[in-house]
Every structure is written in C-alpha cells, then in structure tokens.
Symmetry: C2
Subunit: 222 residues, 2 copies
DNA sequence: GCAACGTCTTTCGTATACAGTAAACGCGAC
DNA sequence: GTCGCGTTTACTGTATACGAAAGACGTTGC
C-alpha cells in the first residue's frame, strides 16, 4: 500500500469533528463564548447536537491552537489573552511573515501574482464601499495566499492558527486599520512581483510592525 | 484491563492519550513504524493495549505535528519527508531560532545563563565520553531551554514539534555533527549572557545554517 | 462561630457498541 | 484473458456506557 492519493468526492467527507471545530472557533472569535468562560464537554455536545467524542477532539485542536486552556479533570476554559501574550503573537507573526514574503518573492509565478492582485482589487472595492469587515477578511486572505505561495507547509499550518488568534484578539481594531494596511499590502505584492526578496521582507516587517503598534494601542484603550 | 487504578496520588494524572502520544512518537522516530506505513487505529490500540479513543486523540496531535498524514475515511500513514519538506523545516527553524536567541539575549537572568552553561558542561563531558546520542539529546535540550528563556509561549509550543521532526529525520547525522555544534552553542550562550541581541541572532542563524547544510548533505548520501 | 470531615455531584477519561463507507476480492460475461 | 459488477470485509466516524477523581456542600464536633 504505497502512497496513493485519493480525490474522489468521498474524500471531502466533513467529519463532525471538523464541523464542531469550525463552529467552536467561530463562537469564540465572535465572543459568544467570552474569555474565561468554562466549556464542559457535555454542554458543548448539547450545544452542537453531537456526542462528546467530536467535541473532545475539537477541543484538543483548540487547545493546541491556544484558544482554550484545559485543566485535566476540571474542564476547558476560553483563554484570556494578556498584553505579553499579544506581544509574543506579533513577534511570531513578524518572523513568519518575513520568511513568507522572502520565499514568495523567490517562488511566485505570474499566476500567483495575478491572484494576489485580484485580492488587492477586491480589497480596494470593499474599501470604497466602506465594507470594513470585508476588507479585514480580504486582508487575512491575502496573507494566507502569500504564505501559500511561499510553499512552506509548516508555515501554512502554523500561520492558520496564528491568524485566527489575531482575528480573535483584534477583530474590531483590525477592521478599522484595514484601509491603511491596504497600501502596505500593495508594496508587498509589488516586491513579490519584482522578485525582490529584501524589499518583500522589509515590506512585510514594517507592515507587521504597524499592525502591532495599532493593535497594542487598542489594548490600551480596552 | 480497565482495572488500573491511579498509582500516583491525585496531582498529575498522566492521561493514556499522552502516554500513547509519547510511545507513538518514539516508535516513529526510532523507525519501528517506517515512513509510508499504514497505521490503523485498531492495530495501534492493540499494540499499546488500550482502546481506540486514546489512539485517535494521539493521532490527531501527531497529524498536527506533521508525523502522520490522515486520509479522511482511509486511515493514518506515517509521513514520508522529502527534500523540499526538509528544506522548509530548516527555514522555519532558522526564523524561530533567531527570534528565540534575540529574545533570550534580552530577557535572560543570571540563573538562566547558569542553566545554559551547565548544559554546555554536560555536553562537553558527554563529548569526551564520545556518547554522541547523549550529546544530541543535550543539544536539543539546550535549544528548548533557550526558547523557554525567550518566554514566548507560541515559540515554545511550535518549536517542540519542530525539534521532534528534526530529530526524526536526522537522528543519525545529528549525533555525528553534535561535537561541532557544541562550539557554536558556546558562541550563542556567550551572546545571550552578554545581552547582545544582534550577536545572539547571528550565532543562531549561522548555527542553523551549518546544521541545515550538514543535514541536507546526509540526504544526498541517503 | 469555625474548622474538619464525609458525602455528593459534576466532569473527565476510557472502553465498548453500532453504523456507514470505501476498498478488496471473487465471480461471471464477453 | 480481461473487463465489469456484486458481495464482502475492514476500517473509520460517531454514539453510548461506565468508572474514577476532584471540587462543592452540608454536617458535625469543638
């Protein structure tokens, strides 16, 4: 039984585990389950209308992603992010973004760049419509796309949970700052298209710095 | 079979899930389960003498760590790392190590440095005894300690699985190169003690580069 | 009134049972 | 001999059942 990939329709079967995972993430990010809230398996199972097993498995992933803290015989709690945790988050993000930018500048094809540009266009349109949440969404999408272009699979898996965290903590402030970051994104995509690794890295770094500053500013207000 | 009672008093209860996780990792790293091998839940459950549930949960973590690939209705397979995957691995490691080194240089206390030095001493002794596997072990321990000193919690959780991967792929070559890397480690710890962020970052970067080169060289020999 | 002890409830951890699906295999037709 | 179809099998995905441990709460002794 050597490596064989199967891509039949059955392969897209969505396990309940994953559905629960998505739903749970959304509820936490939306604030339906506020930080510090206790999440018992039974309750979640009832909330989602499934048994405890899918819930357990989803919670395991959520724990690894840093959304919940699990106390062995006591239950799972929605994590409460503090200032230092947020600072750590952006430190990580800076490292990952710069790597992704550099690799993307090396490896991007014409099609990749066209893809990124279409996202920028969509973001510009959304900005003109003052649809901030859509802009924020497109921005996240752009970053994930850049990481995908970089082709580093560890980067992709780690960045996913990292971005979810960012969206969770700063969902309001991020939407507000989105129009500004759009300009920074153009600089990034330009550098990627030009294949200029150093410029791409610089653009990514300054972009994350700006986001970090804005985010930490929001915390002060909070 | 279910008649096992808690042998240790309340405190830290080692869930079967975690025991299975540790055992499974060890078997994969040791090569008992070679790359490409199919791992059915039933078989693993029987191998470890537990039911399928702890096995499922352990497999979920192993998947996130990149040791196994899970095909939805088909089962789990031991991952087969290829050259590009390994390159990606070291790219990630370089980014994380440099960040860890910089932060550690900022935050290390006197006690932290003493801790790191004691590991270096132990590594020197082991080198003199030509106990290469012990040296490799101590080297990993040193890196994890530096990351702990950096205080970034995401860094810690990500690095854990990253290091396990490195140990898995290059367990032989890593042991061989360990004496060389010892010198590079001294440079790193010196920089951390001096609080010199730039030098620490440089030391970490060149160290990972050297390790990467050596590792990829081993692959060629494959 | 306060503290210590015993019971009690809640919740996790694990095992087992059941259903659904996809691959494997064998049989028959061409 | 090969291709196609039906059966069979084996594995995953999900649900349920049971036991153990930790905290909550009331009770009792001082």
């Amino acid at each position: 039984m050597a490596g064989h990939t199967r891509d039949t329709i059955g392969g897209q079967h969505q396990a309940l585990r994953d559905q629960v995972l998505v739903a749970l993430r959304q509820r936490i990010v939306n604030g339906d389950y506020p930080p510090g809230e206790r999440l018992t398996e039974d309750r979640l199972a009832e909330d989602f209308g499934v048994s405890r097993n899918p819930v357990r498995e989803a919670l395991l992933v959520m724990q690894a992603e840093g959304f919940v803290n699990v106390v062995p015989r006591h239950g799972a709690f929605v994590a409460l992010p503090d200032a230092s945790t947020i600072g750590d988050l952006f430190s990580m993000r800076e490292q990952l973004e710069t790597l992704a930018a550099r690799l993307a500048a090396e490896r991007a094809t014409v099609a990749d760049v066209a893809d990124l540009r279409s996202l920028l266009d969509a973001a510009r349109e959304a900005t003109e419509r003052v649809d901030l949440s859509r802009v924020a969404e497109l921005n996240s999408e752009l970053h994930m796309r850049v990481i995908a272009v970089s082709g580093n699979k560890w980067l992709a898996s780690i960045a996913t949970s990292l971005y979810l965290q960012v969206q969770w903590v700063f969902r309001i402030g991020a939407a507000h700052r989105a129009p500004h970051s759009w300009i920074e994104h153009i600089r990034l995509v330009d550098a990627i298209e030009a294949g200029d690794r150093d410029e791409a890295e610089k653009a990514a770094r300054s972009h994350v710095h700006a986001a970090s500053t804005a985010a930490l500013g929001n915390v002060e207000q909070g």
